[in-house]
């Protein structure tokens, strides 16, 4: 009796395993991979195979083969996915304009594709030479021009966002971790790039206030405002490219910020726009402070009472997300819950619900 289960199992075997072909590893070479896909016996797996071949071709910046591979994927969801993968990988290979052309054909995935592509570009793309700040700004602008032109191929409601996202990405690469925060470069930016330039300069200027980590100086905002006003270049230790990251907040449903004009930040993050240059600089600095994982909540509290709506709302949001040094943040938020500004009150209430300061750095709910 004990041998029956084995007997039953053996009796039902029918010499299976044709599927080993379908699950075999693809050749590394994209052309060989695409050729191998044609031999795949099952349509659904041919689709996945061709998308993988397209991604590998894009990763090697082989635009023609990428096009050929995606062209073999049936139209619809999976063709769109193929263009999405191609867009990401071409950007990663240092071809952001070609990547955007694929994002434009990725249908409902195009917004994701733009964000992924923008933040996949290699750091080197943002590193430009030049005698002085304005000359380096001009060099960066020249690199951005074909990318912004390629954004024109996207659907109309995505063009501006895509161009701004790539502006932020390239300015970010040109600043963060380089060991040099030069306000004259940011001030020399083309007008449409200035918000990104401000944000990117602020990120590096803040980092250099505490390059080894730890709390930031209590007068960090004033120091940065003065450096910007006086054109003061700050220098310090650079970061290796793989560590050029920080804390960011995915676009969160803050009701009072919905529908307001914004600029892209690191990753999929965004910040409110200021009504004028000073206000926009201050908002960029506040967001840059929060980007540093050790930035303390105390830095944001003074700005919760600012007369400018967008400054106040930015500060209220960042206050509830940061950890305090000595401030009783729970008590502060309880008070702010009764603030006459509904947006400040909403942020205080949300802060008390989520108690983000009790979680490790950067772990958002």
């Amino acid at each position: 009796m004990n041998g029956w289960p084995l007997l039953l199992a053996l009796s039902c075997q029918r010499g299976e395993e044709p599927t080993a072909v379908s699950m075999a590893e693809l050749p590394e070479d994209p052309r060989e991979a695409l050729t191998a896909c044609a031999a795949e016996p099952f349509e659904e797996l041919r689709v996945l195979c061709r998308i993988e071949a397209a991604a590998r071709a894009a990763h090697k910046a082989d635009e023609a083969l990428t096009e050929e591979a995606c062209g073999q994927v049936p139209e619809g969801t999976w063709r769109q996915e193929c263009h999405f993968r191609a867009g990401e990988e071409l950007a990663r290979a240092g071809q952001p304009a070609a990547g955007l052309a694929h994002c434009a054909r990725s249908g409902r995935f195009s917004r994701f594709c733009v964000t992924h592509a923008a933040w996949a570009i290699p750091v080197e793309l943002g590193l430009v030479g030049g005698e002085d700040g304005p000359e380096r700004a001009a060099a960066l602008h020249a690199r951005l021009e074909p990318v912004v032109a390629a954004a024109g191929g996207l659907e109309p409601d995505l063009r501006q966002e895509a161009a701004d996202t790539f502006r932020m990405s390239l300015w970010y690469m040109a600043n963060l971790g380089t060991g040099r925060a030069d306000p004259t470069m940011a001030q020399g930016a083309a007008s449409e790039e200035i918000p990104a330039a401000r944000s990117a300069w602020a990120l590096e200027a803040v980092r250099l206030l505490a390059p080894d980590g730890g709390p930031l100086p209590a007068d960090a905002v004033a120091r940065l405002q003065a450096a910007w006003r006086d054109g003061l270049v700050t220098e310090g230790p650079p970061l290796p490219p793989e560590r050029r990251h920080g804390r960011f907040e995915p676009p969160a449903p803050v009701p009072c910020e919905r529908g307001l004009p914004w600029h892209p930040l690191y990753g999929g993050g965004r910040r409110l726009r200021g009504a004028d240059a000073d206000e926009d600089l201050l908002i960029a600095i506040l967001e840059a402070l929060w980007f540093q994982p050790d930035a303390q909540a105390e830095l944001f509290l003074p700005w919760v009472g600012d007369p400018r709506d967008h400054v106040r709302w930015t500060a209220a949001r960042l206050l509830r997300l940061a950890a305090p040094l000595t401030l009783d943040l729970a008590a502060t938020l309880r008070e702010l819950r009764a603030d006459p500004d509904a947006c400040v009150a909403w942020n205080a209430k949300r802060g008390l619900e989520q108690r983000a300061w009790e979680r490790p750095h950067g772990k958002q709910p």
Binding site: S11, Q13, E25, F42, L45, V47, E81
Partner: protein, 112 residues
Amino acid sequence: MTRWLLPALLTCACHGRDDCATGDAVDRENCRFEKASALFSAGDDAWRAQLEGLPGAHSRDLLRLRLAVLDPQQGPALCRQMETPAAQDRCRQVAGRPHLASPPRPGEGDAQ
């Protein structure tokens, strides 16, 4: 008793588990997929019983993967059930891409 019990058990064990026994290996897999996908697309959970009755982890994984491509919204759940490392790896192309679960926009229907 074993004279009649053994053949009966063998018949019962195999009957209904997989009635795509004819043709070559690819035909068999396609037959299984056609049957399962018809039930799957109609929302009939009987496809699960059919899947469980398939002989061999590779066949079950192949079916899961093909269904995941057919309906990427079900991809993450199907991929979690993969039994073989190769299929788990291949399934990342579906489950590792959460946007695939978003419904097509009007006029963006799938041609496949």
